[in-house]
């Protein structure tokens, strides 16, 4: 039924935007709205610890307990000097905590924002930034114990420790693509979050986090296949006054590039469907 309301053909409508362009705009817009995702992340943290006694330092305390318990037993098992093992374990656990939580919470990126996504138009990448930034805040709280441990065990740390800044930056970028990718897959297939959780738990045991990579012996050749080890190694080694294994940076950069390109491709394709999936 037509009326004087039918499409006004004299209006110049803009050219349709390609999906890739829309996805790229989404990513740029999301990154630029730092006030949005940082405020949301802060609120998440505040809410998480509301009503609790220790607040965010609950994680720090639980980490100290874990380190104390594991340190004594596993130093014995791996025949490592406890003065070397405890700092190794502490730093490893702190970083692993960050990496594993980013991955597991990455599954909930869009699912947890269901209310917002169906009510208000917002770049989707904002939710990924929110998740990663929130985990960076938690990491900052946990990092508090690292200098203490390094001092107590007299770990020789020089200026080369500053390389953890670009290292953490690369980890953040990886966190973003993982959050977007897993967020999309989990929005479509609801059994993905528990599968990812189990997978990450298994990875904790097979990745040299609480045991030294040398314990692998001949299987060390397969270690470059584990990008999570590269992620941990690249931050842990400088903090312990050493250098990461030769291939760690390469593995990390390769997975960053492959991850970003692959996720961008999928994000461009499926971004319009996310609002329908959740």
């Amino acid at each position: 039924m037509t009326s004087r309301w039918s499409v006004n053909m004299s209006v110049d409508l803009p050219k349709p935007v390609s999906r890739a362009e829309a996805a790229w705009t989404d990513l740029l817009e999301g990154m630029s709205k730092s006030w949005m995702w940082s405020a949301m992340a802060m609120q998440d943290i505040k809410m998480r610890y509301r009503g609790s006694l220790l607040g965010p330092f609950w994680l720090t305390i639980s980490m100290v307990i874990m380190v104390a318990a594991m340190g004594l037993i596993y130093a014995r098992m791996f025949n490592m000097d406890i003065n070397r093992y405890l700092p190794f374990l502490t730093v490893g656990l702190v970083i692993w905590n960050f990496v594993s939580t980013v991955i597991i919470e990455g599954c909930q990126t869009f699912l947890s924002a269901h209310n917002i996504i169906t009510q208000v138009r917002m770049p989707f990448s904002v939710h990924a930034w929110r998740s990663v930034y929130r985990n960076l805040i938690v990491l900052a709280h946990n990092m508090v114990i690292v200098p203490l441990v390094l001092i107590i065990f007299s770990v020789p740390v020089g200026w080369s420790v500053l390389i953890i800044v670009p290292a953490l930056l690369i980890l953040t970028i990886n966190g973003i693509w993982v959050s977007i990718l897993l967020g999309m897959i989990s929005a479509r297939y609801r059994d993905v979050p528990p599968i990812v959780t189990s997978f990450v738990q298994v990875l904790f045991f097979v990745t040299p986090v609480f045991w030294p990579p040398e314990a692998l012996g001949i299987w060390m050749q397969a270690l470059p296949l584990n990008p999570l080890f590269a992620a941990v190694d690249v931050v842990r080694a400088p903090l312990l006054g050493g250098a990461p294994l030769a291939y760690s940076w390469t593995v990390l950069l390769v997975s960053t590039v492959v991850g970003c390109i692959g996720t961008f491709f999928l994000f461009a394709k499926f971004r319009p469907r996310i609002a329908y999936w959740i």
Binding site: A39, Q43, M47, N115, I116, T118, Q119, V120, P272
Partner: protein, 241 residues
Amino acid sequence: MLVATTTQGNLARDATDRINVRALNNVTLDIEDGDRVALIGANGAGKTTLLRVLAGIYSPTRGESYSAGRISALLDVSLGLNPEATGRENIMLRGIYMNIHPREMRSRVDEIVEFTELGPYIDMPARTYSAGMLVRLGFAISTCMPAEILLMDEWLLAGDARFLDKAQRRMEQFVGSSSILILASHSADLLHKWCRRSIMLDHGRIAATGNVDEVIAIYNATPTQLIPPQADATNSRVGAT
């Protein structure tokens, strides 16, 4: 058979035996500066879906949707209200979702708090609020910032008579300052008051367009009807979900 007895959009099984819902079918619209549009239809006709497409929340699976101007989509008055956060925190959060910078929101907080008349409850968690209090909060936040393009979906105005009065005046101001209004409602009163033109949706298709009175007459001729004007005066609830 299913379609004929329901008012919802079309359901069908595709080749892989998945159920598809066609909520909107061949909807072509052009809405310009100054338009005040009423969206009428039975439950499930596609009004909320259309509003979401117009707001940019849903991408159309076929065709394009263009908009120019700041869109305020007020599709659910309790948008993102976090029950564990205090009223004050919810104001800031909601401002963020509405793309208002915290700096700007902070300057409006006092005005919003005053409007809600929640008093000391504003610093209590939102889960301690009654439904009416939540609506006051949601409404106050939604109407704090002038909107260029205002999309409203069946506003639930549950509240006591005094708040309703206040809300009506605030609405007048709010709607008056927007360039475009698209309002989905079942209330004839609201539609006559705010809108000039109307679109009627039926099973996801545009069944009628034109002047609000004409279209309301067409709609009232169908089995489902609008809430007639005299019923509204006695109810404290306007519109329905």
